[in-house]
């Protein structure tokens, strides 16, 4: 993926760039809003990371301008303001996802990859998701593994769908809580782990190759 990071804090940007490069992405950096806007318009990126508070031009107006110009590159907005309302305004301005500082780098990476993937393969139109011998029919709402039907509860179906859409990349617990339950807060106990454990019972039990992997310190990943 080719990613543009628009972040004024030099140290934070340096760490982010290093991490993203190590994860195998090509990264550009713009230290202020004006340069960021120029680069985002001139080059083709798979995803943008935009800090909300920027010198020159603030992050949200930058996103609004990009959207007004017809640029639909996925944007992950970073903010030191953590409030519920800021999140809403951030998304309303055209951001695709919102992450509050301080965040875990794994969270940033997982969300960026998810954004880039959504754009690369617009699976929203797809009616079938396939990972290895696991098949999900989105219209009939059925799941089969190796030809054998797996009965899932509606939430389990949503959980598996989320993992399958991001197959091969890490999906964090907060991402799952957001996408499956529409909750944007930390669950105190590891509620997500319990739900994943149940899903594993149905999807992986009795098969030689486990598909749902735990990525320590980050989240889960569905991969063959």
């Amino acid at each position: 993926m080719k990613i543009l990071v628009i972040e004024d804090d030099a140290q934070a940007a340096a760490y982010m760039l290093k991490g993203l490069k190590e994860a195998g992405h090509a990264v550009d950096h713009a230290p202020d809003g004006t340069q960021g806007l120029y680069l985002a318009g001139a080059e083709h990126y798979d995803a943008l990371v935009v800090d909300r508070m920027l010198p020159g031009r603030d992050g949200l107006s930058l996103v609004s301008l990009l959207r007004a110009a017809g640029n639909d590159t996925p944007v992950l907005v970073l903010s030191a303001l953590g409030s519920v309302e800021d999140r809403v305004t951030g998304l309303r301005a055209g951001g695709d996802d919102y992450l509050t500082k301080p965040y875990a780098f794994s969270e940033l990476l997982a969300r960026l990859e998810s954004l880039g993937r959504r754009r690369a393969a617009p699976q929203a139109q797809a009616t079938k998701l396939v990972v290895s011998d696991l098949e999900m029919d989105l219209l009939a709402r059925t799941v089969k593994r190796g030809g054998k039907v797996i009965d899932l509860l509606p939430r389990e179906f949503q959980l598996l769908e989320c993992l399958m859409r991001n197959a091969g990349s890490v999906v964090t617990r907060t991402m799952l809580l957001e996408q499956v339950w529409d909750y944007h807060f930390d669950p105190q106990t590891n509620v997500i782990d319990v739900h994943i454990a149940r899903l594993r019972q149905k999807v992986d039990k009795g098969f030689d190759q486990p598909l749902i992997q735990t990525v320590r310190g980050a989240g889960y990943c569905l991969r063959p």
Binding site: G82, P187, V191
Partner: protein
């Protein structure tokens, strides 16, 4: 603090100095009350003057008018005598009328000025026909009173002149008395008004001084100061009461901030120290077998710290009263979805979890923020599941509480919270002694309480005999 200690002492010492008294008087004179008193006094004196002038005019003026009428009638009668009986008859009539009548004057004189008849001599220099005011010599004291006689003079053919007059000395005395009364009463009203105005200003100032002194004390950091109440229940007491209530709230908020700062200092210092130690150990490759493990533990520690920070910020945001996205939130659906999220956790821990939704639709819909309400529910369920032992029971109920409220109850049969701690668990960082060893930040119920208050509701914590019954009461609509 120093100034506040010094000032009252200086005031007490200087209270009797003339300059101080002047300053005090100046302050009284500048008060709004005194100004109002002055305006009132002006209006009062103006209206009293008008009334008194009317009385004066209608008494003294009436008497003078009456005298004129009498004189004119007398003159008419004399003229009639002259027409019927001639000069001799007129002289006779003048003498008759003047006889034994001290307050009236009748004179007939020849053209030369010689008095022909009457009870007095013709006054000098009075020749013209018409009205005149003449001086009079008081027969008893011999004093001359100028202009006290009102006279009408008529000129007859042949230069004869007739004068009919009235001594108006009594009317003048009455008029003078009235003027004196008016003068004195005005003076008295002015003095009483000024003194009254000053006294009223003093009373008001003294009452306001209570407020001012309290405000000054607060400004100097004595947050426990309160405006004194007189107990009369008047508007000043009401104001004082309102101000005191406001001060109570401020004091509570400040105490809350102080408490939170102490909580942060205490609760974050320990994990930070632990974290530092871990990282230092990781640097010592020789002594640590697996530095990666140490780093992972450190990350876990940091995550816990971040979660605490986020919870603190969330509480602060809810309490700050800033704007939040508000929309109708169906609590029945929210409870089902949150319940479902924790149902798996309960099952995992061997706890029976039951859900009952008795209120639906508008009866269960509140105006609020779905994220915050969801988190409040999640915190309550999380708490219940955390403290309920295996084999226990946790229930979640949504029911109507009267026509205008909805009640979300999370009940467990765990150890519960002792009655004396049920208020304190709402405080940030407060944790029961028996739970110190368990993981937790002591912020969960604080957030629930803040969310409830933000939505105009309350969090009620009760004994579930055994266990805890946490009820979230929220207004519907």
């Amino acid at each position: 603090m120093l100034t506040s200690l010094k000032r009252p002492a200086a005031e007490a010492a200087g209270a009797d100095l003339p300059s101080d008294r002047h300053r005090h008087l100046g302050r009284l004179l500048r008060t709004t009350t005194f100004r109002f008193a002055l305006i009132y006094l002006g209006l009062f004196i103006g209206s009293v003057l008008l009334v008194l002038w009317l009385i004066y005019w209608s008494t003294a003026g009436f008497l003078a008018g009456q005298a004129d009428t009498g004189i004119r009638e007398d003159m008419q009668a004399l003229a009639d005598r002259y027409r019927t009986g001639g000069m001799a008859s007129l002289a006779e009539a003048v003498n008759e009328r003047g006889m034994g009548n001290a307050s009236s004057i009748y004179i007939l004189s020849a053209g030369s000025g010689a008095t022909l008849a009457g009870n007095q001599f013709w006054p000098k220099g009075v020749d013209e026909a018409g009205w005149a005011n003449l001086p009079v010599k008081d027969p008893s004291t011999g004093q001359v009173r100028p202009g006290d006689v009102r006279a009408l003079i008529a000129v007859l053919p042949g230069g004869y002149r007739v004068l009919v007059g009235r001594d108006l000395g009594e009317v003048r005395v009455l008029r003078e008395r009235l003027e004196r009364v008016i003068g004195w009463s005005m003076g008295l009203a002015l003095v009483l008004g000024l003194v009254g105005g000053l006294a009223m200003s003093r009373v008001w100032l003294r009452r306001l001084d209570g407020v001012t002194r309290t405000a000054e004390a607060i400004r100097e950091g004595m947050l426990v100061s309160r405006v004194p109440l007189t107990g009369s229940g008047d508007e000043f007491d009401q104001l004082a009461h309102t101000l005191n209530a406001m001060l109570d709230r401020i004091e509570a908020l400040v105490a809350g901030i102080r408490h939170v700062s102490q909580g942060i200092a205490h609760d974050l210092r320990t994990p930070l120290t632990r974290l530092r130690t871990r990282l230092e150990l990781a640097l010592m490759h020789d002594t640590v077998e697996n530095p990666r493990e140490v780093l992972e533990a450190a990350i876990e520690e940091v995550d816990h710290l971040l979660a605490t920070f986020r919870a603190l910020l969330a509480i602060a945001e809810v309490e700050s009263g800033g704007s939040l996205p508000i929309a109708p939130v169906p609590l029945d659906a929210l409870a089902l979805s949150t319940g479902e999220l924790y149902d798996a956790v309960a099952e995992d821990q061997g706890i029976t979890f039951t859900m009952a939704v008795e209120a639906t639709g508008p009866a269960a819909t509140v105006q609020g923020n779905r994220q915050l309400l969801g988190q409040a529910l999640a915190n309550l369920l999380d708490n219940a599941l955390k403290y309920t032992p295996e084999g226990g029971h946790v229930s979640l109920t949504v029911a109507a509480d009267g026509p205008s409220r909805v009640k979300v109850t999370v009940a467990d049969n765990g150890p519960g919270i002792p009655a004396e701690d049920r208020e304190r668990v709402r405080e940030r960082f407060f944790r029961l002694d028996r739970d110190q060893a368990r993981p937790g930040s002591g912020l969960g119920l604080s957030l629930v309480d803040a969310v409830a208050q933000r939505h105009g509701g309350t969090l009620v914590l009760e004994d579930n005999g055994p266990g805890l019954k946490a009820q979230l009461l929220l207004p519907v609509g």
